[in-house]
C-alpha cells in the first residue's frame, strides 16, 4: 500500500496536527514502511469471523442510580488557567 503525501496531510489535519516539512518527509517514509508490513494482514482469511472489540466477553454494567461523591466545580477547574464564572473557557468555535 502506497501512502501519498496528500493523504498524509489530510490525516494530519483531521488529527489536529500541523506537520513541519521535516516531519512530513520523515513520516511519509516511515508510515509507508509500516503500512506495507501491516498490509500482510489482508492475507488472513476472516470470512465469518466475529470481531473482538474486547479480549474477553464483557457485558454492559450499569451502576445503581444513586447520587455519589463527585468532583466539586473548583476541583474540576483546578488544572486550567482558562476559566471564567465557574466555566471552562474555550477557543472560538464559529
Amino acid at each position: 500500500m502506497q501512502l501519498d503525501k496528500e493523504t498524509l496531510k489530510r490525516v494530519a489535519s483531521i488529527s489536529r496536527l500541523n506537520l513541519t516539512k521535516e516531519e512530513e518527509d520523515g513520516f511519509l517514509k516511515e508510515l509507508r514502511e509500516i503500512l506495507n508490513a501491516f498490509s500482510e494482514i489482508s492475507k488472513l482469511e476472516t470470512t465469518n469471523v466475529d470481531l473482538s472489540v474486547q479480549p474477553l466477553p464483557i457485558s454492559n454494567i450499569f451502576r445503581d442510580d444513586i447520587v455519589g461523591k463527585s468532583l466539586t466545580q473548583t476541583e474540576a477547574l483546578s488544572n486550567t488557567i482558562h476559566k471564567k464564572d465557574g466555566y471552562f473557557k474555550a477557543p472560538r468555535v464559529i
Binding site: 501512502l3 493523504t7 498524509l8 490525516v11 494530519a12 483531521i14 488529527s15 489536529r16 496536527l17 500541523n18 506537520l19 516531519e23 513520516f27 516511515e30 508510515l31 514502511e33 509500516i34 503500512l35 508490513a37 501491516f38 498490509s39 500482510e40 494482514i41 489482508s42 488472513l44 476472516t46 469471523v49 466475529d50 470481531l51 473482538s52 472489540v53 474486547q54 479480549p55 474477553l56 464483557i58 454492559n60 454494567i61 451502576r63 468532583l71 476541583e75 474540576a76 483546578s78 488544572n79 486550567t80 488557567i81 482558562h82 471552562f88 473557557k89 474555550a90 477557543p91 472560538r92 468555535v93
Partner: protein, 457 residues
C-alpha cells in the same frame, strides 16, 4: 526482605515508620540521580502519610510503593510521560491507588515511562523528559514502557513494589531487562479508573516487584470489581493443578544463549512439557496489535488539546487553530506517528482493510491461545527475544524494527491473558526473563510457575 516481613517489622514497633520512610526517600533520591527513573519524588506527601498512618493495620502497612506516571495520584503531577500533560495534578486517586492507601501503603513517587506508553525501551520519552538507565549497565535501556518502575524496584535495597501498566508488554518487558518480577493480570481484573488510557481494550494495571510473593501481594490488594470501570470483571479464577506445560516453538527463534537458558530452566523445573506451535499468532500478531492499539490511541489522545488540563497557551484563533498548535508543539514524535497511523486505519476507505480486519484477526489469535490452554495449563516463552540493548543501538532502529521487538509480548496482551516474567539467569551479564502465560483468570498458575523458578536459585 519480603513485603510481608517488612510490614511485620514495622507493626511490631521495632522500626520507626517515619525514620524508615525518611531513609527510603534519601535512598530514592540517590537512585533517581543515577538512573533517572522517577518523574516525581513525593518527599512531603510520603512523610505526611507516614505520620497519619498511626497504628492502623494493613497488608502494605508502611511499604513504599511507586506508581507509573500514567496512573492518577491526587495532587501529584501525573503526565503519562508527556509534555502535553505537564503541570496536571489530578483532583482524585485512581481506584488502585485508593486501595493501596486503604492497606497502609505509602506512595513515594511517580515512575517514568515512554510517552503515553508508546514504546518498548523507554527511549520514546517526551520533549522535556530524560531516558532512564538500566541498573545493570547504564549504557543500556531499561525496557518499556514501565521502565522507571522496573529500574527503581531493581535498584532499591529496601522492600518496595511498583504499580505498572501494560498495553502490549510494558510490564514484563522492562521487568525482564531489569531482572525483576513483572505480573500482568487478566484484562479487567484490576480497575482502570484513574488510568490515562493508551488503548482501552488492551490496557491493564499490574505489578512489578523484587519477588513473586510481593508481586502477588500487591495484585491482591488492587484487584477486584470496581463500579467506576465498566470493563471491570466480577469473576475470580479457580485454582487448577499444573499437569503439563507448553513451550511455544516459534518463540525459540531468538538469540541462542537466551534459548538455551529457557530450555535449561525448563529442564531444571522437572515439569512435563511439550513444544506447541502458534503459527497464526506468530505471523499476524504484530500488525493486529499495532493496528488496534494505534486506532484506540488516536481517539484517546484527542482530549489533549490545551483545554481543561496540561499545557496551555493564550487562546488565539479558532478551536481548530488553537488545538492544532498545542498538539503540534507538545506531543512527541512517536505520539504523532501513532495518532496519524491510528486515524488513518479508522478512516473511510481503509477501515475495513485495517481496523476491522485486525479486530477479526484478534478473534483468531485468542482462539489459537485458547486451544493451547485446553491441553496445557501454562505456555512458556522467553520474555524478550534479546537482552536489554544499548541506547545507541536503539537509535539506529526504524519505527517498524522497534515494533517487531514486541513479538513475544503482544500475543498475551491482545488476548487479555495473565502473564508473568521472572529472571531465569544472565546472558552477557544481563538479566533475562522467562515468561509464563495462562488462560483468562488463571493468575494462580503463572504465579505458581514463577515461584518454582525462584526456588531454583
Amino acid at each position: 526482605m519480603k513485603i510481608k516481613d517488612q510490614v511485620q517489622l514495622i507493626q511490631s514497633g521495632k522500626l520507626s515508620l517515619k525514620e524508615f520512610i525518611k531513609e527510603v526517600l534519601k535512598e530514592s533520591s540517590k537512585i533517581n540521580s543515577e538512573l533517572r527513573c522517577l518523574n516525581y519524588l513525593a518527599n512531603d506527601e510520603a512523610i505526611e502519610r507516614a505520620e497519619i498512618l498511626g497504628k492502623k493495620k494493613g497488608k502494605l502497612f508502611g511499604i513504599p510503593i511507586t506508581v507509573k506516571d500514567d496512573i492518577c495520584v491526587k495532587g501529584m503531577e501525573t503526565t503519562s510521560g508527556s509534555t502535553i500533560l505537564r503541570g496536571y495534578k489530578p483532583p482524585f486517586n485512581a481506584t488502585c491507588v485508593e486501595r493501596i492507601f486503604n492497606e497502609g501503603g505509602i506512595i513515594i513517587g511517580k515512575t517514568c515511562q515512554d510517552e503515553f506508553g508508546f514504546g518498548s525501551f523507554n527511549t520514546n520519552t517526551s520533549l522535556d523528559f530524560e531516558r532512564p538507565l538500566n541498573p545493570f549497565d547504564n549504557e543500556r535501556v531499561t525496557g518499556g514502557s514501565s521502565g522507571g518502575a522496573a529500574a527503581f524496584v531493581s535498584k532499591a535495597k529496601f522492600s518496595t513494589a511498583a504499580l505498572a501498566e501494560s498495553t502490549g508488554g510494558s510490564i514484563v518487558n522492562p521487568a525482564s531487562f531489569c531482572g525483576v518480577v513483572g505480573l500482568c493480570p487478566t484484562y479487567g481484573l484490576v480497575s482502570r479508573y484513574g488510568l490515562l488510557d493508551y488503548a482501552n481494550s488492551l490496557d491493564k494495571i499490574g505489578t512489578i516487584a523484587k519477588n513473586v510473593d510481593d508481586a502477588e501481594l500487591l495484585l491482591n490488594v488492587i484487584k477486584g470489581f470496581d463500579p467506576l470501570d465498566s470493563t471491570s470483571i466480577r469473576k475470580e479464577g479457580k485454582n487448577i493443578k499444573i499437569k503439563e506445560i507448553a513451550i511455544q516453538k516459534e518463540a525459540l527463534n531468538v538469540d541462542k544463549e537466551i534459548k538455551d537458558l529457557i530450555l535449561e530452566t525448563l529442564k531444571k523445573l522437572k515439569i512435563k512439557h511439550k513444544e506447541v506451535s502458534l503459527p497464526l499468532t506468530t505471523k499476524y500478531v504484530i500488525p493486529t496489535y499495532y493496528l488496534i492499539a494505534m486506532s484506540e490511541a488516536s481517539t484517546n489522545l484527542a482530549k489533549y488539546s490545551g483545554m481543561r488540563y496540561g499545557k496551555e497557551e493564550d487562546i488565539k484563533g479558532d478551536f481548530n487553530e488553537y488545538f492544532s498548535k498545542i498538539r503540534s508543539t507538545y506531543l512527541g514524535r512517536e505520539a504523532k506517528r501513532r495518532v496519524i497511523l491510528g486515524t488513518f486505519a479508522r478512516m473511510a476507505g481503509y477501515r475495513d482493510a485495517f481496523y476491522i480486519k485486525a479486530l477479526k484477526a484478534r478473534s483468531l489469535i485468542i482462539q489459537e491461545y485458547k486451544k493451547v490452554f485446553k491441553e496445557y495449563q501454562v505456555l512458556v516463552t522467553p520474555t524478550m527475544p534479546l537482552i536489554a540493548p544499548k541506547i545507541k543501538e536503539i537509535n539506529k532502529l526504524t519505527p517498524l524494527q522497534n515494533y517487531m521487538m514486541d513479538i513475544l509480548t503482544v500475543g498475551p496482551n491482545l488476548a487479555g491473558m495473565p502473564h508473568l516474567t521472572v529472571n531465569a539467569g544472565f546472558v552477557s551479564k544481563m538479566p533475562t526473563g522467562i515468561m509464563f502465560t495462562s488462560d483468562h483468570l488463571q493468575e494462580n498458575s503463572v504465579i505458581e510457575m514463577g515461584k518454582k523458578v525462584e526456588e531454583l536459585s
